[in-house]
Structure formats: C-alpha cells, structure tokens
C-alpha cells in the first residue's frame, strides 16, 4: 500500500462500520468509484500488516506507559508555597545532575569545537553539515569488539557515587526547560549486503549481529548524549564515547563507530538525552539501569527519548 496516498476518511469509517448519517451520501458516492473496492481491500491488508508489526498488547503497553508520564509533568507547573520544599529538593537534584558550575562553564565555553569534527556531505541533492563525534584512537571500537567494556567499567564506578534519593525527587518534574524543536534519536540498521540503511522505530525487532548506526536528526543547539541498555543490564555509551558530559551540538550527529549487537537477550534500549544545559552522563546511566526495558525515564531539565528494540533469537 502506498502510504503517501490519502487514506479517504469515508472509506476508513465505512470499513469500521461507523459511517454517520451526515456522511452517508458522500460515502455512497465514494464507494461508486471503480477504485473503491480495491482501496478497501488494501486498507484491510494494511490493517493486518500493522497489527502484525505492532501487536496490540505491546502497543497498549507503550501507550499506557506514555499516558502515565503526563501527570508527572503537569504537576511540576503547580504553583504555591506547598511546593517550595519540593522545589528546593529538585534544585539540589538538578545540581547533582548538571554538575558543578565550573563543569558547566568549561563545557559551555568549549562549544562544539574540540568536541566535534564537522564534515559536509551531499544528501539527495542537498548539502548539509553533519557533526561527527571525535574518533579517538583510545576508544574501543564497538563495531569490532561488540562492547565498549572500558566505558562500562568507568560508568559503573561513577554511578555508585550518585545520590539516588535526590534522583527520585528530580523525577517528579520533566523537561520544563525544553520547548519547541528538539533532536530526534535515529537508529539505522545497515544491511550487510549493501550500503542501504533502514531506520528503526520504537518496538522494532533486532537480532544479534545486526549492525546499527546510532545518531540524531538535526536539532537546535543542545547538549546531547546517546546510551543504550541491553538485556544483561550493560550500559553502552554511543555519544560521546568518552568524557563525562553531554556533547554540545547544533546539527545532525552520528556516533563515530557503527554498533554491532551482541547476544544479550530480550532487548536493547537506546536513549537520547538532551538538555539546554551541560549535564553529567553517569547519573543518567544509573537511571537507565534502574529503568530497565520499560521503566520511565524522566529527570528535571532533561528530555529523554527512548527506542526499545526487541531482540529476536
């Protein structure tokens, strides 16, 4: 089915048996079109394909999870003295999260210069700028080794120093600072037989051995980091691969190495963390480990987008 073809709402509703009286006449007219029966058959096939690719139980779970995130965000806007104590707690948590002022300053001043290399590429006739994270010779190559074990060890050590009690307070509120356009997490599977890449969506399937390219779509000037958690509880840093803080970017960004999935079971959850201010990555790693495959991931001052891939044996 051509998804760019306008799905006539009259046919959609006819198929569902929900044609209201006021649309009965124009629906009859639409059904007289010689193409109408073929379109209805296509819609039925499309229904089956969508429900097979995105099963109702999994989607219902994702929708419920998303719905449960909303009230927490709204509570953060409630005014009044009753929230003064909470605000103080949140501020302390943000201090933990964003690091000391000296850390923020040093990262903000450094800008994209030392953190990123910029290359120009041609894509579909258009020229655009892509920022690529630095390719350090000290960084283990996950495309060859499968995992950045050095990064794991460092991350685990740092995460143990975080006051997780403060994090619970921080999770009451969410992305107040973030309005308007933002970066988007982009995971592409690279076909081994060609240079073709297929963009993966939340709840898609993946297999051990799949080669993935991890990055972001173009967005505004922000600090970002991309991490993933696998079914063994291992966290991998994709962007930046080294360093303690989110990377400052203002355009598309791709991890310097492609990433080959290992045989960790059940899932691989990728998260894009974005903020207007510099932030430390280690606390986010701790949060991701606690959240697992399906847990909520929210923290004041951060926007966190998640793509969960189901691992097939």
């Amino acid at each position: 089915m051509n998804e760019n073809l306008h799905p006539d709402p009259r046919l959609e509703r006819h198929l569902l048996g929900e044609t209201p009286d006021h649309l009965a006449k124009s629906t009859r007219k639409a059904l007289e079109d010689p193409q109408a029966q073929a379109r209805l058959a296509e819609l039925q096939q499309s229904n089956e394909a969508i429900l097979a690719a995105l099963p109702p139980d999994r989607m219902a779970e994702a929708i419920r999870r998303r719905a449960s995130e909303r009230p927490a965000r709204q509570r953060g806007w409630m005014p009044g003295l009753a929230f003064a104590g909470l605000a103080l707690g949140v501020s302390l948590a943000v201090f933990h999260l964003l690091g000391s002022p000296s850390t923020q300053d040093s990262i903000a001043k450094s800008g994209p210069g030392p953190d990123t290399a910029r290359t120009t590429v041609h894509d579909s006739g258009r020229t655009e700028s892509i920022a690529t994270a630095p390719d350090s010779t000290n960084v283990p190559d996950p495309s060859r080794s499968g995992r950045t074990s050095t990064a794991h060890a460092a991350a685990t050590d740092t995460a143990q120093t975080i006051d997780t009690a403060s994090w619970e307070v921080a999770m009451v509120d969410d992305d107040i600072l973030l309005k308007g356009a933002s970066h988007r997490l982009a995971i592409h599977r690279i076909a081994t037989s060609s240079t073709e890449a297929v963009r993966l969506s939340d709840l898609d399937s993946a297999r051990s051995g799949d080669l993935l390219q991890v990055g972001t779509l173009a967005g505004p000037k922000r600090y970002v980091a991309i991490l993933s958690l696998d079914g063994n509880g291992q966290v991998t840093r994709h962007l930046p691969e080294t360093g303690d803080s989110g990377l400052r970017v203002d355009s598309k960004l791709q991890a310097p190495h492609s990433y080959r999935l290992d045989d960790a079971p059940r899932f691989e959850r990728f998260v894009l963390v974005e903020s207007r201010r510099a932030f430390e990555i280690a606390p986010v790693e701790g949060l991701l480990k606690k959240a697992g495959a399906h847990g909520l991931l929210t923290a004041r001052g951060l926007r966190i987008e998640s793509i969960l891939l189901h691992k097939q044996p």
């Binding site: 209201p20 499309s46 429900l51 929708i63 719905a67 308007g180």
Partner: protein
C-alpha cells in the same frame, strides 16, 4: 496496579486493535516519516485516554481522526521538512498558520461550560481542503454551525490560497 487501571488497560488494547491502523495511516500520510507517525499515533491514544467522556461518543473513529489531525499538525509546525507533493505542501502551509481558535473562545463559552472541545481551525481546514468534506459535513463532524466553520476558515485565507473561493 489498581482495578481501575487494569480495566482501562484492556480498553487501550481493544481501542488500538480496532482503530490503531486507521490512526497510523493518517499519521503516516500527514507526517511522511514512520518514526514520527508511530510516535504521533501513541500520542493520539494518550489524548483519547485523557478524555474520559470520549467513549460515550457515537463514532470514536471521527474523534480519533480529528485528534490525529491535530497532533500531526502540531508536529509539522514544530519540525519543518520539505513537502513531497501538492497535498503535502498544502498541509505544511496549513500547519504553519497561526490558529485563531482563541478568538472564538468567547463565542464558544457555552461549549466549554458543557465540556465540548473547541476544534482547531487548522484541523477544520484539513478536513475541508484535503479530506474533501463539505462545509456542512465539517460542521456536523465538529458540532459547529456552518457559518461558524466558514468564519473560522476565513481567518486562514491570507495564508491558504485554496480558501479564497470560500463562499
């Protein structure tokens, strides 16, 4: 998890099973991006869940269709991209319009008192210009009067030339 939550969880699955494909097709057509479309589809159902009275309506497909249109227009407004064809270009122009719904809030005061949602003017424009609904059909779908629909659409005239012939 309480009983109430468990009950509504079953509803989500049933709702998605019946209406999810229609909503996803709508989002795919408007957004032209699979990842955005799946995201938007989930948001549509989240918004539906927030409206406790939503399932008392006769035709949930109508409500879901309008919520999907509104969600996608908001996404298109916040994330610019190049239009792929004429319909897409028209969608992008409608999405970029200021929505003057607030101007009509006073007129719809009774609607608000009785809990009836005011419809986004941009959503009305998509229904008329792209879905091909007549003004009368749009009026019936949205619960507005025909003159109310016409008045709303006139506010977009300067940005959407397809509305110049509006009677």
């Amino acid at each position: 998890m309480g009983e109430r939550e468990e009950g509504s969880a079953l509803d989500v699955e049933a709702l998605y099973r019946k209406y999810g494909p229609m909503v996803l097709r709508r989002c795919r057509w408007m957004l032209r991006d699979e990842s955005w479309a799946r995201d938007a589809m989930q948001d549509v159902f989240v918004q539906l869940l927030k409206r406790e009275d939503s399932m008392s309506v006769d035709h949930p497909s109508s409500l879901l269709h309008r919520i999907a249109t509104n969600v996608c227009l908001n996404l298109l407004r916040s994330r610019s991209r190049h239009p792929e064809d004429r319909d897409d270009e028209l969608l992008m122009r409608i999405a970029s319009c200021e929505d003057d719904s607030s101007r009509f809030e006073a007129a719809n005061f009774l609607d608000r008192i009785f809990g009836r949602e005011k419809e986004s003017t941009r959503t009305i424009a998509v229904m008329h210009l792209l879905d091909g609904y007549t003004l009368e059909e749009v009026a019936k779908e949205t619960g507005l009067s025909v003159s109310g629909v016409r008045k709303r659409l006139r506010t977009l005239k300067s940005r959407v030339r397809e509305l110049e012939a509006l009677p």
